[in-house]
Amino acid sequence: MSLAANLRTRLARAPASIIIMASLLGAFVLMALFAPLLAPFDPARQSLIQRLRPPGHTTAQGLTYLMGTDDLGRDLLSRVIHGARASMLVAVASVSVSLLIGSALGMLAGWRRGWIEVAIMRFVDIMLSIPAILLAVLAVAVVGPGFQTLILVLGLTRWPRYARVAYAQTLQVATLPYMRAAELAGAGGPRLLLRHILPNIAGPLLVVATAEFGLMILFEASLSFLGLGIQPPTPSWGTILSAGRQYLERAWWLTAFPGACLFLLVLSVNVLGDWLRDHLDPRSRPRG
């Protein structure tokens, strides 16, 4: 039984909460993929006389804004649906870039030790010490704003976190007898790292990755004040939220809906991540 097959059978036996979370995540993914088909309105279409309408507001022409409108009179529902696209793309792209770079370098450092360790880990320290904002500013000044720049900045500034976690875990795992057994079996570097170390350190990495997943969506919003975010009028949850916080008292829906979406997305990613980790561990069979 391969790992994937193993996982499949486990998924079939997963508790209801996992199924719910998986469908939730699936729904968000579908929402992102088919946003143009799902959104009732053009998310960029403004109507300044229809600013800040509450959810369910129906105009004289009979158009209904299910989630209300934002501060430029755009349909919030359509923006949230389209926002899923940008936000999830940012999260997936930046998390995978930094997870890849970070865990590879971290494992290498923890396993090889010696000067490679010093070089990698001190570089990690350097990257961690430089405020991300600073690099973001430079990137915007030199490369110009845009989605690629955003991913570049997020990927470049976040990988050291993964690297440190991977490094610390690898240090510990590398001392275990089964690593020596694998070495004896003739496993070379890549195999030792991928087959022996990685599965045994995947848990903490997964925790960081799932935590970062939500963070990246929020980060995009925080970076938008430097111009690094998704450029308007393309919506993202982060920018909708940060724009909405000005209207907390007047228009709660501007933060409540995208906030709830974000919460549910992060929840599902976290719960699935933890479940995945638990079930990648062959020792923890479901109870009963």
Partner: protein, 307 residues
Amino acid sequence: MLRYLLSRLLQAALTTFGVMTIVFFVMRLSGDPVLLLVPEGATREHIETVRRELGFVQPIWRQYLTFLGGLLNLELGVSVVQRVPAWDILASRIPYTLALAGAALLVAVGFGIPAGIAMAIWRGRWFERPIAALVVTGQSMPTFLSGILMIMLFAVTLRWLPSSGVDGPASVVMPAIALGMLSMSTFARMARIAVVDELSKDYVRAGLARGLPLGKVVTRHVLRNAAIPVVTIAALETGNLLAGAIIVETVFAWPGIGQLAIQAIQSRDFLVVQAIVLFVSLVYVAVNLAADLLYAGIDPRIRLGKP
């Protein structure tokens, strides 16, 4: 041991040097502050005069050498924007930053780690749920939102806490919670995973077999074994709390380094940025060195330096 420490100190110096070099060039490449200093209607000649007066027309390598010279003399220079030594500007913020970071760490560790352990021990039972929900909330709530929501609830509506500023310990409560929430989630989940990992090992069963209750097995044995990822995260988060508090400090008008950093970056106050980065990187390197030493302290199998 001593040799290891010395070599790490040397590495720390190199790291700091690397950081400062990168920051120096990053700042210079992203444009000088002159345009921000002069009034909007300034003429080109005036701008050039100021630029020359401030030394920004020199070739960049010469500026770099000057900067290195200053660094060697522990001179951080005088801010061109505020006309005050950069170190003074930084120093006035450090106490606030330490207070906030400390309080936030207290929130994060004080709640996060017990929550993580509880989730691991009660895995799959119903009490795990509410804790998990809280943890996820911490992770999915943008600080800029949680901050202002807290202000509206605790300051405006309930009048329990001051809405902003730095008057006494009450002032630090909300910023610390807002800042600590995120780290708290990370701590909790990291602790949970690490503890779950350990709980499946044979020595736990052996601990139970000698009559220790599960709680004791966890506190006496599991925690230490699970500590490495948690220590790693703690080191990472400490750095984050120090410098990453930009939004929280802005929302709560907390005069820490984060706020200063963003202002200095935005006004291209090079010397202040450099001073901040120097400080942060020193703290960072120290904290991570401590973490690396702790790894070996926690797990005697991990030998320091070369294997």
